[in-house]
């Protein structure tokens, strides 16, 4: 059971039942996951849980003192709410510890139908001010907010002073500078929505093309979004991390952000001091190897900080996108 009293709760990703067990065994306090449909924002092929798999996963986690958070963090399109309602009811039946939601209709349904379950506000809701957060707390009884990755630590501290909800921040994974839950770049290029279909850069529309010189182009829906030289590290095929040419910059430039990953391992004590309750690791689409290495590293680091020791941080750069890492806006808003 989540009480919110544990400072530094480690919230870890699982895309498959094996990943969930790996996360639990590596020391996760909580694991977030989703069903195999559009109700969550990682609706990727071959990923996620059947109801039977989730039942087994919840049992495995609970037997070992860990919590399972069900991500229902996409936005139901008009007329399709039934899928989200069924997923919410199923989550209660399977005894998940909390729901992660973004849509107000989904939040309303759960708060009325399953008032005994915790509601966590997804980063997909993009609630970045005390007014916005307090609205969700007041109207739907939200217990925790996952903050967008655009705030400095002093700003997080100020927000905490004005809200009653717990704060969860990302500490590893996507840099995430877009207004999350509002991004329509994938929709523009493919006709499918990150926020309603749960697919950012749907895999069936991604293509990698290698030329005779060893360069590799990544394409989405027929648009070339980057080209990597033979010895250059690659990134995800997402439009926000694409490199584009125009008349002013004919050699290409990163129009939005670079392929780079967030890593806040050195800022854990500052985040705790700012009032952050839970640390989130991103990567439901990543492998068990990633889950094991990242969760183990942060488990040890959080335990060190709690015990007053200097955290010994494992080198995680090999697991980062573009093999580069940043402390992003948490450190300074001049990250580029």
């Amino acid at each position: 059971m989540i009480t919110g009293d544990v400072v530094g709760e480690l919230v870890c990703p699982a895309g498959t039942p094996a990943s969930l067990r790996t996360a639990v065994d590596a020391g996760a306090d909580s694991i977030y996951c989703g069903f195999q449909n559009a109700t969550n924002a990682r609706n990727f092929p071959g990923l996620n849980f059947t109801p039977k798999e989730l039942a087994g996963a919840v049992d495995y986690a609970h037997e070992r003192g860990a919590n399972v958070l069900l991500a229902l963090n996409s936005y139901p399109p008009a007329g399709k709410f039934e899928l989200w309602r069924e997923a919410a009811d199923l989550g209660a039946e399977l005894d998940v510890d909390a729901y992660i939601v973004a849509d107000m209709g989904v939040a309303r349904y759960i708060s009325e139908k399953h008032p005994d379950r915790r509601l966590h506000l997804s980063v997909q809701a993009a609630a970045a001010s005390p007014d916005a957060i307090n609205y969700y707390v007041r109207e739907f009884g939200v217990k925790r907010v996952v903050l967008p990755r655009i705030l400095t630590i002093p700003e997080i501290h100020e927000i905490k002073a004005e809200i009653s909800a717990e704060i969860e921040t990302f500490i590893f994974g996507n840099h995430g500078l877009m207004v999350e839950g509002r991004c329509s770049l994938t929709n523009y290029a493919t006709g499918l929505s990150t926020n309603m279909d749960g697919v950012c850069s749907p895999a069936h529309l991604v293509e990698y093309v290698k030329d005779s010189a060893g360069n590799m182009s990544s394409q989405l829906g027929g648009y070339t979004i980057d080209r990597f030289g033979p010895d250059e590290s690659a990134g995800y095929p997402t439009i926000c991390k694409g490199r584009y040419c125009n008349e002013v910059q004919p050699d290409g430039y990163y129009a939005f952000e670079e392929p780079i990953s967030l890593n806040l391992s050195k800022l854990l004590p500052d985040l705790m001091e700012a009032g952050v309750t839970a640390f989130k690791i991103e990567g439901r689409q990543r492998s068990r190897a990633y889950v094991r290495k990242v969760v183990s590293a942060f488990r040890a680091a959080v335990d060190d900080v709690r015990a007053g020791r200097d955290p010994k941080l494992a080198d995680l750069v090999a697991l980062t996108e573009g093999q580069k890492q940043t402390e992003g806006a948490f450190k300074t808003k001049k990250w580029r």
Binding site: S19, R21, G46, H204, V206, Y208, K210, Y290, E321
Partner: protein, 174 residues
């Protein structure tokens, strides 16, 4: 370069990827392997969904041949094929043996080795992502399952391959 042979002998031979290995005797072995995996891990194939009928090429770049996989349980295919005469396929994965072995056994993260360009993919990306995710849900070692099929010689061969996979410093035959 992968070579399971003792270092002094390996130095006298051409690289394994250039060896003229006859494929026909290998085919029953590969068929046995894929049937064994299917029998032991049916959930892997369920997770593949529609991509059970996809034809994959797995190009182990330091092997003298590539592999053709169609993971459709009623008519499984895993066979060695010549690189210059690849069958019709929708998706292809290429990497050296060490990289692929470590990814299959969840020692390496697939995205990380894609970022570092050690893994090259082409064709139907959705099929490849689905296969990767399905294999990642298999706990335990697929390589050990396969080695067990061949008794002590299989286990010895896997132990040697694993030692080689630890890195060039651990084995003189790279």
């Amino acid at each position: 370069m992968l070579n399971i042979l003792p270092a002094p002998l390996a130095r006298r031979l051409p690289p394994p990827s250039d060896l003229p290995v006859p494929l026909l005797p290998l085919q029953p072995v590969f068929y046995r392997i894929v049937r064994r995996v299917a029998a032991k891990h049916p959930e892997l194939f369920e997770r593949l969904g529609k991509h059970q009928r996809t034809d994959f090429i797995i190009d182990v770049t330091d092997f003298p041949f590539a592999l053709h996989l169609r993971p459709y349980p009623p008519a499984l295919i895993l066979r060695a094929v010549r690189r210059e005469r690849l069958p019709k396929h929708q998706a292809a994965i290429a990497g050296d043996f060490r990289t692929l072995l470590r990814m299959i056994d969840a020692e390496e993260d697939g995205d990380a080795i894609f970022f570092s360009r050690e893994l090259v993919i082409s064709g139907d990306t959705e099929a490849i992502v689905t296969l990767r995710n399905a294999m990642d849900d298999v706990e335990g070692s697929i390589a050990e399952d396969v080695a067990e099929m061949f008794g002590p010689p299989g286990k010895m061969a896997l132990a040697r391959l694993n030692k080689m996979a630890e890195g060039p410093d651990s084995e003189g035959a790279w």
